[in-house]
Amino acid sequence: MVGNLIGVLFDGIAYGSLLFLISVGLSVTMGMMNFINLAHGAFAMVGGYVCVTLLATLGVPFLATLPLAFIAAALAGLVLERLLYRRLYKASHLDQVLFSIGLTFMAVAGATWLFGPTQQPVNLPDWLRGQVHVLGLDLGTYRLFLIGVVVLVTAALVLLIERTRFGARIRASVDNQVAAEGLGINVSRVFSLTFALGSGLAGLGGGLGIDVLGLDPSFPVKYMVYFLLVVAVGGAGSIKGPLIAALILGVFDVAGKYYVPEVGAFVIYTLMVVLLILFPFGLVRRKA
């Protein structure tokens, strides 16, 4: 029973860290540009399909596909931000919601047309399969790898935002666009790069997550609520908030599906409504 509990906790953390990796970009763009982007999952899907295609048709090793997934999704994000998203930063939330639902529908239809409606299989390399024995527990190797990658990426992200000049520009633009512009920061370029970075991270998450989340054209709609949830519960514009929220949601979702499968996804939705009632502005409120 205790072993079970730790196993569920471990799987939940792995799942939560994946959710965090995909959603962190959404958190930053939402906090920064005040843009409600329901199409964020589509960038994760782009990463996922890039991984699958490279693995299956070109035989690229799994580890090498991950940076490519990041680059492909980041490029897609950059192009879309430059062409479309930026026109709507000042628009109402309704417009943003409609626009991004439209993009999501197009992405779903496009993926169906290109890859067919079925689930995509992923062949993990042998060294990532099976289980490892740690301190008397059997842990899934892939999930351990997943957590490791997310820890590394998060550390790099924190360093980037806290310790570099570009990070300082991002923080300045999030806090006060007008003042940042007045200080000579090219806010619009910072926005574009941040959007690309967030989309790239989502793409990386999409590639990493095929084994956990699955991959089919309905991916952006199926997980839309999870990504939004992480940001809404965690609080937009921060890294810490979504991290905490993603871990809580991941653990509760896995635990709910394991212990009370008949209730299914109910646990997560109830948790979300309760958390939103308790913290209508998110767990971590960004300081102005």
Binding site: H93, L98, F99, F105, M106, Y269, L276
Partner: protein, 350 residues
């Protein structure tokens, strides 16, 4: 009479307006909302279509039902400015209420509608307390979450709702005990049109009342309304509750006229498509909801027959184009055209 939800709409509305400190005379004088000729022509269209397209009665009835559903969202979104991604929850609640009543032997349609309005309205009232707490993002999430929760609940409670297979075995009794629901959908047509018209008159009256005006004030500047003494949260709750009740009636109408309730009445796609219809027609003008529903469903009937995947692509593209270039939808565009043609002309439609 099935002017349900309207009596409590007005009862909710007038004291709320009185609370704003309006003088007694202002309370007694009704706002001017005479029907314009164009509106009367508009309402003759469905009547004419009954005789012109007798083969399409089922589709036209569905358009009217979904139009009613879109109207209920227009009150919440177009007037009160609450972005809801889970409005299908109330539609589905109404549909299942009417459906379950009918399956258990209570097939009388009008009381079925009233029950559906009551159930959906009470659910709307409860949800409205959560909705007024947060800002756009939290509202979006709460409505989306509640919609998904109800979908899951209906899915898991297969013993009650039939789950994925849907709820069948409904038998709707004759309307007023005299008009049998026939295979050609004649009774269903007049029944849907009647309910739609009665509720439309009520909603039209509501949005032209001081209460409706205050909703628009909240939409345009929620922070300033308390300064003139308006209780913003209470107004939003009333609007949300009425919207939910009307959505419940629309759901019940669909259930009664098709004598079937599928799980899709609660699904996210239904909420999203509803939003699309509303912005396609134009928000905040009531007629936009009806025009949008009609255009959307006729187009869907045409294109979706070819390939559902393409349909979804074009719908997505259409949304992006509307947002980027055609804010205001069809009616908004027409209004601009009219204004260009006749400088100084008044507002078209309502």
């Amino acid at each position: 009479m099935s002017v349900f939800s309207n009596p409590d709409a007005k009862r909710g509305a007038v004291p709320a307006a009185a609370g704003a400190g309006a003088p007694l005379a202002g309370l007694l004088r009704l706002p001017n909302d005479r029907w314009k000729p164009l509106e009367i022509v508009f309402w003759l269209l469905p009547v004419a279509s009954y005789f012109l397209f007798p083969d399409y009665l089922v589709l036209i009835s569905q358009i009217m039902i979904i139009g009613l559903f879109a109207l209920s969202l227009d009150l919440i979104l177009g007037y009160a400015g609450i972005v809801s991604l889970g409005h299908a929850a109330f539609f589905g609640l109404g549909a299942y209420t009417a459906g379950l009543l009918s399956v258990r032997g209570w097939g009388e349609p009008i009381s079925g509608l009233l029950a559906a309005a009551l159930v959906a309205g009470v659910a709307g009232l409860i949800v409205s307390f959560l909705v007024v707490r947060g800002q756009d993002l939290a509202r979006l999430m709460v409505t989306l979450g509640i919609g998904l929760m109800l979908f899951e609940a209906a899915n898991k409670a297969a013993f009650l709702t039939g789950g994925v297979d849907g709820l069948s075995g409904m038998a709707t009794s004759p309307l007023f005990g005299a008009f049998e629901f026939d295979l050609y959908g004649k009774t269903a047509f007049w029944y849907s049109l009647g309910v739609l018209f009665i509720l439309f008159v009520g909603l039209r009256r509501l949005v032209n009342s001081p209460f409706g005006l205050s909703l628009r004030g909240i939409r345009e500047g929620g922070k300033r309304m308390p300064a003139i003494g308006a209780n913003v949260d209470r107004r939003l709750k009333v609007a949300f509750t009425i919207g939910a009740a009307v959505a419940g009636v629309a759901g019940a109408l669909l259930a009664q006229t098709t004598q079937f309730v599928g799980l899709d009445v609660l699904g996210f796609p239904r909420s999203a498509e509803l939003l699309i219809m509303l912005v396609l027609g134009g928000t905040g003008r009531l007629y936009g909801a009806l025009v949008g529903a009609a255009v959307f469903m006729v187009a869907q009937d045409y294109i979706a027959g070819l390939d559902p995947a393409y349909w979804q692509f074009y719908i997505g593209l259409l949304l992006v184009l509307i947002v980027l270039f055609a804010r205001g939808g069809i009616l908004g565009g027409l209004e601009k055209l009219v204004r260009l043609a006749r400088p100084g002309a008044g507002k078209e439609g309502a």
